[in-house]
Amino acid sequence: MSLKNDQFLHISDSITNPYITEWLANGKKVLGYYCTYIPDELLHAANLLLFRIRATGNTSMNLVDVYMVRFTCSFVRATFDMALRGIYDFLDGILICNSCDHSRRMFELFDLKVFGRENFPKPASQFYYSIPHVITDEGFEWYYTEIQELKAELEEKYILETITNQNLLETINIYNKNRELLRKIHEMRIIDTPKITGSEALQISMSNNSVPKEVANRELERILNSLKESEGVKSNGKRIMLVGSEVDNTDFTGLIEDSGALIVSDFLCFGTRNFLDDVHLGFELDPLKSIVERVYYRISCPRMMDDHERRLNFMKNEIKRANVDGVILQRINNCDLHGCDNMLYVHELKDLEIPVLNLDREFYQADTTRLQTRIEAFLEMI
């Protein structure tokens, strides 16, 4: 069974989809966001549809060039170019945090140049919270307070009533279920004969972040069942783990897989980082606190300055678990966070004698031949 023509996967091909249209037609609101350091369950409990902003299909930088210098991340630039062209006009608001310097500045830019546009179709709101750059008890308290304040803001701006613990418990169940399904699908990817390619896994993840979670859970369950019957991917390709900057483009994963590899695992924010950890309700039964605990203490990304060792350990375990032949590290040019973390990995993985390729690229597929040559040479070398 192939997922090639699966309608759920194809949701990732475009920015909007029929579920969003229906959601909006029912008078409900959609909130855009950039970073996975997000208390998803809280927003869901506020009856919001969360849409992880991506730049799927974007080929132009004409408009954004006016507002963002070329030393900013081309992924963020591409999303903003789309926003300037009105493609994100369906949003009712945006949620920004200080994840990286590029995406956090979208708060002001969306405010002044998108939502503030004269013909923007509806009133839109902006939310901001600050996340510590280290993982400490004090940092947790800070973040928890930020999210409590966000909750109050959401109640005031959007739903005009209190989000109860019961609401939160219900959404925790939905999200834990969602992550469990994604983990199960991931299991089918890391086995000896994977049942799913890296590009398909990426599509699933993107679609999952573009529709209501109840819909996503139904679809993921269906896909999981069909995968169980599947014979698996016929490939003699090298088993690769893909790590680094934002990837929301199957052209890129396709390039790797067409070069004779299979991406059997990843360490990406549109990938494993999303679903490895669940919300665990503690004895206190404070669901909001438990939600924050998951986001804050989960496997981190390089924005957390003091957690590189834990990330490296995760990679080492995953390399074993998924029987990985080599690691492809990649950074979108100008992404300092991933670029520097990758620099450390290169040396650490080499010390462990794990083949590693460190790529720099643009979000859009500009230099395919160069990338392909480097990837092919790497795969041959493994």
Binding site: F71, N98, D101, R104, C340
Partner: protein, 429 residues
């Protein structure tokens, strides 16, 4: 090798800096006339003895503490240590060494560090990789930028220097100040544990009082800069940055500002301009080049363009209340830290930055802005056009944007910068 040399070798770049400053000072003394470039002369006179003293202390085995320029040097006065500003040393070496520190950018670049990060950190990383630095500890806030958060882990994970991090939140409000005050305190205690010393906060209070005094002098100076023509030469801007980095908390900083103030007052009284005639008044909301500070003289003398303010100078903090309890003291320190050059603009939304620029343009009667966009400072990547629009609409003045790297001439050379400014100036006059 004897122990003395070994200790000194822990901070070889600092010794390189001292040598370079002494040579420059000699040249300034010998070549320039008495009326030459006073801020350069005074700056070197005040900074050199402090650096020399630090190197002597390093020889004696006092712990070497590397710090990020966004961590205030005077706060480290609670320890008996030699504080080395990683960014400051790297940038001022790029100013004073003939070939800058490009060699060290390449060392770390070849090791895999991305080219688009901050050259101030690249310099320090390359020097560490070459074993020119051996820090007993490094302390940094989590601001002002991704480049900081991304680069500093190298020191911990590759070089195994103990890294102490003070987490600085974004947005300037009461709860941020309180949180950062606590972070500052915790980080100083952690640093003390690493270097085996109890922080002596009374000693620190004295250094803070010195800086309170410096703040007052700076206020007075900035009032004078509002005058037309500006009574301060352009090179004061990078030298003032150097004084902040190397002599904060030391009496020499008071002396530096008092002497500069005297000169400014005298020029103000006589209506003098360092370059002869002031034709254009500019504000640089970011900074001038460090790899070639002769640009400052060229602007003054060739174009008659005054650089009234740059990012290091337009942050004036309230004095810290040094007489009260420790919590109040740290609260004041946190406020000052979050209002620090570059941190202030980076840990806030753009709106106050835009407002500040508009106010400065009006208060200082600026004719134009020159926005140097560093390739490393992604936190400013979305501001140039917004600022240009704001200045055009609110003050009616233009802004030139120049992409560059503060410490690396290979990104945009001094010649290219001069050409751009010359062309821009033609549209102004």
């Amino acid at each position: 090798m004897n122990t003395t040399v070994k200790m000194e070798n822990k901070i070889a770049p600092y010794q390189m800096l001292l040598d370079a400053m002494e040579t420059t000072h000699e040249l300034v003394e010998k070549i320039l006339p008495e009326t030459g470039i006073p801020s350069l002369k005074i700056g070197l006179e005040e900074i050199i003895p402090v650096v020399r003293k630090d190197i002597e202390k390093a020889r004696e085995g006092v712990p070497i503490v590397g710090y990020h320029f966004a961590f205030q040097a005077d706060y480290l006065k609670c320890f008996d240590c030699v504080p080395i500003c990683l960014e400051g040393v790297s940038y001022f070496l790029s100013t004073l060494l003939i070939n800058g520190v490009e060699k060290y950018y390449d060392v770390i670049g070849n090791w895999g560090h991305p080219f688009h990060t901050c050259s101030a950190q690249k310099g320090a990383m390359g020097m560490s990789l070459e074993n020119l630095y051996h820090f007993d500890a490094i302390i940094t806030p989590t601001a002002p930028c991704d480049s900081t958060c991304a680069s500093y882990p190298f020191f911990k994970y590759e070089k195994k220097f103990p890294l102490i991090i003070a987490d600085m939140p974004f947005l300037h409000d009461e709860k941020s100040y309180e949180y950062y005050a606590e972070q500052l305190k915790l980080s100083l205690y952690s640093l003390g544990e690493v270097i085996g010393q109890e922080p002596d906060f009374d000693k620190m209070r004295k250094a803070l009082e010195v800086e309170n005094e410096v703040s007052k002098l700076r206020m007075e100076l900035f009032d004078l800069i509002k005058a037309v023509p500006s009574p301060i030469e352009n090179i004061f801007n990078p030298i003032a940055a150097a004084s902040t980095v190397f002599i904060s908390g030391a009496p020499e900083n008071i002396s530096f500002y008092s002497r500069i103030l005297e000169i400014a007052k005298s020029r103000y009284k006589n209506n003098n301009h360092h370059g002869g005639e002031e034709r254009i008044r500019s504000i640089w909301p970011y900074m001038v080049t460090f790899f070639d500070i002769s640009l400052c003289e060229w602007l003054d003398r060739e174009l008659g363009m005054s650089v009234l303010l740059d990012i290091f100078n337009y942050n004036l903090s309230d004095p810290i209340d040094t007489k009260s309890d420790l919590d109040t003291l740290f609260y004041g320190m946190a406020r000052k830290a979050m209002g620090w050059p570059m941190v202030k603009q980076s840990t806030e939304f753009y709106y106050p930055f835009l407002d500040d620029c508009i106010r400065m343009a009006k208060d200082f009667s600026a004719d134009c802005f020159i926005y140097t966009q560093s390739i490393a400072c992604k936190q400013f990547g979305g501001i140039p056009q917004l600022l240009r629009e704001a200045l055009r609409d609110e003050v009616g003045i233009p802004m030139l944007v120049i992409d560059f790297d503060v410490g690396d001439a290979r990104i945009t050379s001094a010649k290219a910068i001069k050409d751009k400014i010359s062309m821009f100036v033609q549209t102004l006059l």
